[in-house]
Structures are given as C-alpha cells and as structure tokens.
Point group: C2
Chain length 343, copies 2
C-alpha cells in the first residue's frame, strides 16, 4: 500500500479510504490510485488488516471425522454458507480424540478465528475453559455439553432412536441388538435412552448382552456384530447408533455367512447417498443435515454480525426414519419386506 501511495503521489490514508470507501476521495486521485494499484498489482494484506481490525473473517470448524457421511454433508453445507458470507473456514478433524480436539481448538483460537463451530466435543469443562478465555462465539453441533451454555443445534436423538427401535418391535422383533458409540458424548446417551425407552414401552426386557460399545469406526462395528451374532440366542435385528460402524456390521453378517434381511434385520443412524441404491437398501435414521448445517451457520453468523448478548439458543431438530428393505417382519414369509407391513 505504501508503494501504491508513492506511485500515486498520495498518502496511504487516502489509498485506504478509497479501497474501503470510508471517505470520499476526488475522482482525480481515485483514478491515479486505481492506476497505481493495477500497475503494481497490489493486493491488500489481510493479516495486517486483521491485526488492526481485530477480526479475521475466518471461522474454525472441528468435526470428529470428515469421512462420516453426516459430517461430510454438514461440513459441506457450513462451508458453503460461510463462503457466501465472505468468511473462510478452517477445518480440523479430531478423530474422536479429546486431546486432539483441545489442541485443535487452541490452534484455531491462536489464529484468532472470529467464531467456532464445534461438533461432538468430549468433556465440557475443558471446552468451557478454552472458550471462555478466548472471547469468541461458539456454536455446538450434534451434541449438548454440560456447563457450556452457548448456541447449540442438535438432533432429538432419543426420539429418533425410539422411533427406529419401535419400528423394529412392530415388525415382530423381540431381541434387538444395539451397537453404541462410546459414551462420552451426549448423542450416544440420548440414543441409548431411546433404545431403552422403546423396549420398555413395549414391555420388553433390557438385556445387557444385547448392547455393545464401539469407538465409531467400521472395525468396532464389525467386532460388536461378531459378538452379537455369536450369542447363544442371537438377536433378530441390530441397530447401529453410528454410520461407519454399520459397514462393519454388514461385513460381519456377510463373513459369518448370514444375509440381511433374511437372517437378520439391520437399521442404523445417519443416511448416506448410496443407501437406496444397493441391496439391501438400509433403513436409516436420516438427520436433516442441510438444516442442521445451515442453522449452525446462521447462529454463528448472527453472533458475528454483532448480536453477542442474546441468550444462548438451543435448537433440536427432528430426525426421520427412512424405511427401506433391510428389516423384515418376524414370522412373515421370507419374501416379505418391511414396507408391506409398515404401510
């Protein structure tokens, strides 16, 4: 900018005024300055600007795994929303690891992001400390977090799983295996609560041998399913509380020589693009991904535009059970699929 100013024989203040339109500058000087900008190929240094202005027009986004289709979609939607608003987004993947997550939030805060969208945090206390230090608006995604009282957008997880498990029960299933993610994040509590609630509502016992835990990865789903399938009295249906794990479930079923839905019914959390293309077409709980991402972005954008003092807003969206053909009625002839019963 100094060079531009010299070339145009004006002060840097005038150049800045012209660029930002913060003051009127005469047509004559405007032209000289614009010419100089072109000649020199000047580009404003956003770092210097950020330092002075105290804003980077950049937000931080952390998710556990970008390869989980839910987060893939959410990231995509959020990225688009901030792009439209002229913000850049820094993406971090925490790999479901608490320390990694803390490090990355610090990394983002160090870089003076203007705001933060955090999906699936672990321990609330740590996040709370980090976030209170840096005085930056935060929106929590996909989970509530004890002690961190801030904007939040989540799914009504309990209700969603309740609906899915009730659907299985209505099909005649009595022994329903449940594969949960590890319990340190709230959605897994709520989803489990939905499972138990559905069983209780139907007067079915809650049997601990039917509940398995995994760490969200395909291999965990595989192992959990293997255990469930080798039970003496094996379940007739399995619900997986997480999407990547259901891949493991399907592979375990195949490897053990069974087939879905003939021998065992399967449903899971999170829809994905291929779910209705191949056989079996998985019955899933679809999250309103687009709405979730957009709401989160709007919440943050609103804070960013100055609305800092409004009380925290908590949004809970509804999931939707996508009934396909991976669950079959118990007792019905083998050819029957779910739709014919649930109609």
């Amino acid at each position: 900018m100094l060079h531009v100013a010299e070339a145009a024989r004006v002060s840097v203040a005038t150049v800045s005024a012209l660029i930002n339109g913060t003051a009127t500058v005469s047509p004559e000087l405007s032209q000289r300055i614009e010419q100089a900008i072109r000649d020199i190929g000047y580009k404003r240094n956003a770092i210097a600007r950020s330092l002075k202005m105290g804003t980077t027009r950049t937000i931080g986004l952390t998710v556990p795994h970008i390869t989980n289709p839910f987060f893939t979609d959410v990231v995509s939607v959020i990225q688009q929303a901030f792009d439209r608003a002229g913000y850049a987004v820094m993406l971090c993947c925490t790999d479901e690891d608490l320390n990694t997550q803390d490090d990355q939030i610090r990394l983002l805060l160090d870089r003076m992001v203007d705001g933060l969208i955090v999906a699936r945090v672990g321990d609330g206390a740590i996040l709370k400390g980090i976030v209170e230090d840096a005085n930056v608006p935060v929106v929590l995604l996909d989970r509530v977090c004890e002690g961190v009282d801030t904007d939040t957008v989540v799914l009504d997880n309990q209700r969603a799983v309740f609906d899915a498990v009730t659907y299985l029960i209505d099909l005649g299933h009595r022994r329903i295996g449940y594969i949960s993610g590890s319990f340190d994040i709230s959605p897994m509590h709520d989803r489990m609560a939905g499972y138990r609630e559905a069983l209780q509502a139907a007067g079915l016992p809650i049997e601990s041998e039917l509940v398995r835990f995994g760490n969200f990865h395909e291999v965990d789903g595989y192992n959990a399913t293997m255990q469930l399938l080798s039970l003496h009295d094996r379940p007739s249906a399995i619900f997986s509380a997480n999407n990547p794990m259901v891949i493991g479930t399907m592979k375990a079923i195949r490897d053990i020589g069974l087939s879905c839905p003939e021998d065992i019914s399967v449903a899971c959390f999170d829809d994905f693009p291929w779910s209705d293309v191949f056989q079996p077409q998985l019955t899933t709980v679809a999250q309103p991904v687009k709405a979730i991402g957009e709401q989160a972005a709007n919440l943050l954008l609103d804070r960013l535009s100055g609305n800092r003092d409004a009380p925290p807003r908590k949004l809970a969206l509804k999931g939707r059970l996508m009934i396909r053909n991976s669950c079959r009625p118990i007792g019905a002839p083998l050819g029957a699929v779910a739709q014919s019963v649930s109609a």
Copy 2:
C-alpha cells in the same frame, strides 16, 4: 505480551526471547515471566506474529466437492498430515465452478496462506496468473494443468480406464457406454483416452452415441444413463468416469426396471467404503487415496521447509481395478459373475 512484560517487570523483548527460546534468559526472570504468563492467561497472538514473520502456518486447500468420496478421503489425509506438522488448513469447495475457484484461491491468498493445494482446476492460465502474483508454492492434485509448471500428483488415469474397459471387453462386452465428466479438466481427457484406447486395442468401433457427458453430479449420471438405456441397441455395460454420477446410473437402471449385473454391467471410477458391502458390489477403479494425499502434503511441506528452487516434481500414481460382482460375462449363464472369468 505487554501486560506480561509489565507484570514481570521486564521488557517485551525478554518475554519474546523466552517464549521463542531465541536468547538465553536468566532463571530468575524466566520464572517471573512464566508466572506472569500463567497469572494473566497470556496467549500469543498468531496474527501479529504472522504479520511480522511473513508466515501464517496455514495452507489453503480447494476441492470441487467434499461429498465426492475421493475428495473426502484426500481432504482427510491432507488435513491429518498438516495437522501433524503444526499447520492449519483452510478448506474451500469450488463446486466444479471456475469462477468460484478463482474467487476462493484469491480469498486464500489474501489471507496469506503459506501454500496451496489445488484439486481439479479448470483453466490453467487463470490459475497461473493468480499463483504467479502471490509467490506461494502450489501443488496440483488430481489433474495436470497446461502452463502451470509446478508440483503435481495425479493418477495415471488413461491406464486405469484402459484396464477397466479392457476388463469389460474380456468379459465379452462389445457395446460399452461411457459417461464422462465435462471436458475442461484433464482427468476427463485422460480417462476418455483410456476408453478409446481399450476399444481400439480390441478392434472395436468408437461410437459417439455410447459416450455421454455430465457435470459430475448424481443427476447427470442419471440422465446420461437414461439416454444410454433408451438407445435402440443399448449397451451391455456402462462405465462411469466419476463416482457421484454412478449413483445416478444405478438409480436409472433401477427406475427403468433393469437390474445390475443381470441386465447391465456397471463399473466406475473411485472406490468408496460401501462398495463391497451391498449388492451389487461395484467394480471400481480405486485410487491410492492415502498415497495421493500424503504425497501432495509432503511435496508442499518440502517446499514450505525451504526447498523452493527444486524443479517441479510430477508424480503419477497407479490406480487399481477392484473387481467385484457388478459386471457379468456376456454369454455366460446368468449366475456367473466376473471373478469366475477373470481368474
């Protein structure tokens, strides 16, 4: 830092020296300073540091669509690599749009990223101009780019498609539909070349009615497939040059009342997590995603660590044909699948 210096009754220079270890500071002062840092809860301002140092320890990454499984994986790998190296990554999705891409590269350059990984650029000339202005190392991913002579990592696309189409021919297919992405990016040229080369090598005619173009999205694959299937003499196999489009292909096949592989064989580019779980298990060309991402990251990291003058390095990696059961031998009994023939 000023406050810390005051509280510890030293100069800011000393604080900086201690923090960065750039000069020895006496144990006594060290302790006072560290105490002050804790008391105040001081965090170094990375923006000010970047301004002074001329480096942001941030890189920019642009991809067309994060929802394309190839890019999802590549982004994931790249993110991890830079995370390990202490870099943040700014992610942009260009939606296959040239203007969007230019805007976003400018956005990233404005923010003084230290380096750039660009996947799937359109016009080389524009990129070239942008990149030459900002003197920042760039690595090109997934495509070569005329006129931009810089580090590049791509797949040997022609060979990969040649292998896949040859496989189809070996199965007895004679009319093979081909769905290409739009032609303004190099992989689509190369993949098409592979298709033509395979046909020619087998002495088969190249029929333009069998070749369709789409814009990389599911809906494009759907439309293209609909056209291919309503041909008077419809193809017995379809190869889709892009992964999202093959979803459309499968849906079109289903909607038209055909089934794969009984009525029509399908293969496509890019493997995905579900490919061997459901039926049909799609035969795909798998890219070595992990290697591609890591190589790209290493190339950039190397430049970032000072190796600026080395001549541009061009890496071409080999794809791998994952033979599953979505393609059947022509003329063989209906139950037969690909493996039994290709053994």
